[in-house]
Symmetry: C2
Subunit: 343 residues, 2 copies
């Protein structure tokens, strides 16, 4: 029995590894220590001068968005989403992205797919300012279904000791702002794929109720990275809290940064529900409560701000290209988030 | 269509998350910032006083060892291996483990399996001195085969700027030492599982040629963590290079830290081949070249040391409980590693 027979082709894995080096290196800065055959990636830790430094890290998977992306030949974009997702997870705590490590697994490694994934990761890393410091490709025929790929990424970030944002300064009277999402981002795809299958429509068909874009365009729109517009304001201390709208929806994520004694009332009609969300809910017959937990409903990031700063921040965010809405208020009450539904 | 129908049960995922918090928290130190609902894990970066600090990070999967471990009810041990694997990958560059983030994915999340994985990770994290800072559990029925689990971990470590070990000081005349492995560690399991299946033996059967241990005991022996014995010596500058023996075998990993102009000759009979390796090669009819690439052949870590320090280091390592062998020498030649086979 040759080792190759056992389902693991080391020489092919090596060939893939060489081919992805170029993409990986495109993200490297002078801070990276070039190790010829490194067992780990090594880079200088970005210590802020004269201040203790905190590390923030988050690991996420792309999830089942990859299935649709593979079917539509857009796997690089879907892979990039894990970078944006992780970078946003750090952003809400005040951290900036420093480095990504990735995990790419398939039943049988397809070099074309692996390269597309790495190129997507590398492009997004350059965009958010992170180094693609390392990763692992795994070929496991007895673990993965044939023809699919799983992609996860660990995003590591840095922040100064005094810059940690965790919601503890949120207080009654604060205002809640919602920032537009580009689409589903990376959540709700198990639901969306079921709805698509049941609808009889194809990814190339126009989105019902849309402006001519295809369902693929709408469903696979990249996860937005909010750092470019939020980071400068964040450093000025503009926010009481930020929440990244991922699995669990707007309320399910916002509540994570709401302290004891504070309660949020959200206005469900404070922002336009995008055509994609309207179609998913109607075509899938999705109850509102489920949609609110599974989907971002059009908002990818939520900011809690002082009422006195609201007007200025709305203007500043609009200037930076964000579509922002005042979606709720913080009041004194049992810790939680409620919807102000008309009954 | 309820969200639960689409194969993703948010409330069950939440229940799992709550249940694993205890295990995760068991690894936390005072350096971790307690975030009630953190989107990322945050902790103090261990900056060495008055020195710039480097970060090292490595992401690895447990691989198909998990299949056998699941079948034998030892999934916690196999999950722990990803911690030891990652910690060893950092160790060979002179870094000490600081934090782990994990990825646990299944077709359908089995709370018993997820808890076993997290408990194994947490136990190993405590052992190597790393915080279990975060992670992701993913339920993807269209990606994973039923009944299996995939576990990956991103290990983040720290080292002082001058402490980076990357093989550049290796020179002709250096001596190569090999440190015993506990078994296969986490490589060669696709091969080993095929051999086991083809042999007609069961995991509970005794290892042929062994001392009475079962095949399961031998095959699933935990990946060794070499930091406890190597770290003190490493800080004294004892090593020209270290190589972690993972996929690619002894030569395939050692060559990664051998600089241009240096060549290593390995003596294949310089250490006893463990019964497990002998059985795998004979029962599987595995050619020697393949075995050398797929298996560690009994050595899990290789150290390159100055010839003058050899005797002292052999004694120091033995004192720390390592079984060490002088397995080769470095000489001037084309960069590479060769076996001194009798032809």
């Amino acid at each position: 029995m040759r080792y190759r027979d056992a389902g693991v082709d080391v020489s092919k894995s090596d060939a893939i590894k060489e081919a992805i080096v170029r993409a990986v290196r495109s993200t490297w800065t002078a801070e990276v220590a070039p190790l010829a055959g490194g067992f780990a990636g090594v880079m200088r830790w970005p210590s802020p001068p004269a201040a203790a430094s905190l590390m923030a890290a988050s690991l996420d998977g792309v999830g089942t968005k990859l299935h649709l992306a593979l079917a539509c030949g857009r796997v690089a974009d879907a892979a990039a989403d894990v970078v944006y997702h992780g970078a946003n997870d750090l952003l809400v705590h005040g951290a900036r992205p420093v480095a990504l490590l990735d995990y790419i697994a398939q039943s049988k490694l397809d070099p074309v797919v692996v390269l597309a994934v790495v190129e997507g990761l590398a492009r997004a890393c350059r965009e958010v300012g992170a180094v693609l410091l390392g990763g692992e490709t795994a070929e496991m025929p007895d673990t993965y279904l044939p023809g699919v790929v799983d992609v996860a990424g660990c995003m590591i970030g840095a922040l100064a000791e005094g810059g940690l944002l965790d919601g503890r300064t949120v207080r009654p009277g604060d205002v809640v702002l919602g920032l537009s999402a580009a689409g589903l981002h990376t959540n709700g795809f198990s639901l969306a794929r079921r709805v698509l299958d049941a609808s009889g429509l194809k990814p190339g068909d126009p989105l019902p109720g849309g402006a001519g874009e295809t369902l693929a365009d709408a469903l696979l729109a990249p996860h937005r990275w909010y750092g470019a517009s939020l980071m400068p304001l964040l450093q000025q201390g503009a926010f009481s809290a930020l929440a990244h709208v991922t699995g669990g929806g707007i309320a399910g994520n916002l509540v994570r940064v709401i302290p004891e004694g504070c309660r949020v009332r959200l206005e469900p009609n404070a922002w336009p529900r995008p055509p994609l969300m309207r179609w998913l809910m109607s075509a899938g017959n999705v109850p509102l409560d489920d949609a609110r937990r599974a989907l971002n409903l059009g908002l990818g990031m939520v900011a809690v701000v002082r009422s006195a700063a609201e007007r200025e921040l709305l203007a500043a965010l609009s200037e930076r290209g964000e579509r922002v809405f005042r979606i709720g208020v913080v009041f004194a009450g049992e810790r939680g988030v409620e919807w102000n539904d008309v009954t």
